[in-house]
Symmetry: C2
Subunit: 302 residues, 2 copies
């Protein structure tokens, strides 16, 4: 099982991973659009005049490359009445790392710096201050080695409130089940990794209620690692829409909204100051619009 895969097998794996990320994107977009249609109650009254949102897709190429050379991605964005702004980016890129950057990436030495990467990345900022923001990302990377990475984490605006705590337990339970199906050691390890990663040292506070985060996952059984990564996507796809549906129909006060906009400042601070993906993407010529789609639609730093 740990025999090195041949070229055809590696290509088959790349195709399978890419196809999964695209399928997951389509299913998530459908689920989120269904939530837009299902909004009712005080939640609907608060956004009267705003139409139920639909995703719009924009394809992009890696800059400095002609046609398909270097790859690119598709950014799906919806600005709706439940989802104030949600971006789902699927990208599949390949090329060569700069020599200095290659040193940081496993397997770059045996690939001559060549890499291939495909993944899905999602951030949702919600209109209601009582619906948590969320982030989910999974990816497959191939250099001289191949591995999976990703995770999902929940950012309620009132993290200490009973509803937010319930929402946090809900997402954690779904992610734990996905982990446990693969390896009972995964959840405690990946939960801790998430808590450590999504922390704002300058504020001395976590970004939210956490979730899981994993990287460099190469157990020696590619099919198992891929199944686990699919399981994380499935867990997110099931749990987050349930959380949204449970909270979205309630109302909120101007004070709640103001609190939400302040909390979003912390989100922007994290992504711009610390997030590896953001820093990596912007400093390696990634697609700026796609990378910064994670930033909140409206923020205050009072």
């Amino acid at each position: 099982m740990t025999t090195a895969p041949d070229t055809a097998e590696i290509e088959r794996r790349k195709d399978a991973a890419r196809a999964w990320f695209e399928t997951l994107r389509d299913r998530i977009c459908k689920a989120f659009e269904d939530l837009e249609d299902a909004l009712t109650g005080e939640g609907a009254a608060k956004v009267a005049g705003i139409a139920a949102g639909r995703f719009e897709r924009t394809a992009w190429k890696r800059p400095g490359n002609d046609d398909a050379e270097g790859g690119g991605g598709v950014m799906s964005v919806m600005r709706g009445r439940v989802f104030e702004k949600v971006g789902v980016n699927v990208s599949t890129v390949h090329g060569a790392f700069s020599p200095e950057f290659a040193k940081q990436i496993p397997g770059s030495d045996t690939s001559g710096g060549q890499f291939w990467a495909s993944g899905i990345s999602l951030v949702a900022h919600m209109r209601s201050p009582h619906v948590p923001a969320v982030h989910m990302n999974t990816r497959h990377i191939v250099t001289g080695k191949g591995w999976f990475g990703g995770g999902a984490d929940l950012t309620p605006m009132f993290p200490d409130s009973a509803p937010a705590q319930e929402d946090g337990r809900h997402l954690h339970a779904a992610l734990k089940a996905a982990c446990d199906a693969a390896d009972p050691e995964y959840y405690p390890r990946f939960k801790k990794w998430c808590d450590e990663y999504f922390f704002l040292p300058h504020r001395g506070e976590p970004r939210g209620l956490g979730g899981i985060f994993y990287d460099y996952l190469d157990s020696g059984d590619w099919e198992a690692d891929f199944a686990f990564t699919r399981g994380v996507g499935e867990a997110f796809l099931r749990a987050y829409p349930e959380i949204v549906a449970r909270r979205m129909n309630g109302g909120w006060s101007d004070e709640d909204r103001r609190h939400q906009l302040i909390r979003r400042g912390r989100y922007a601070e994290f992504n711009l100051l610390y997030d590896r993906g953001t820093q990596f993407g912007l400093k390696t010529g990634g697609n700026t619009e796609a990378i910064l789609m994670s930033l909140p639609p409206e923020v205050i730093w009072p």
Copy 2:
């Protein structure tokens, strides 16, 4: 003139620099409060119901230090009707750099990592989209060496417009005069440094219309360097209030405001992704509130 100063002389210089930064702060705050009172016309009509602002001061100590040990600062903040949010921070701190950080700082080798730093830092975000935002900072740093640094730069929201271009020329002319009084080579050098520094590579655009930026200024004539740094402060104190007074009484549209909030996103991106002072401050246990006072009060990333 290049004889190394004795301890008493170094202390005299520190006291003089610190006193200047505090005096400059007081004069700037007074000038800005006068502008709050002077607002009239359509500009005043747009902010009807908002009182003329006054600065509020908050003292802070370096964290992890008792009483005066390590120093601290005073943050002056005004939320007014001309100035939506302006922070003026004066700090005087001392201590020891971490060994890894010390390597990057001139003179740390001969001071055993000890440093002393005093400075004034100001960022103003304006209510009117037709009044440029501005940044000004000057500082004196002493390790085994001693030097001045700082600068000022203007960020109009519509940088290509004729009024913004006029405002840019106004600030540049004032800064150039301050430079020329010290050394005719300063302005071209420090203007270029500013253009290079305040640039957003991921957007491929400058932060604004520039100004000047200088660092490690130690010409061998401390009195001349201090006089130059005072000159930069005086130039800012004269030119920026003139620019504000010329623009603040006009009105603006919702579309102008929206454009302003988007442009402010670029400002936040620069400060969080690239600004050395922000990164330095947050990663060395500086005062988070004082450092992030530079962030705009309201931002959209649409």
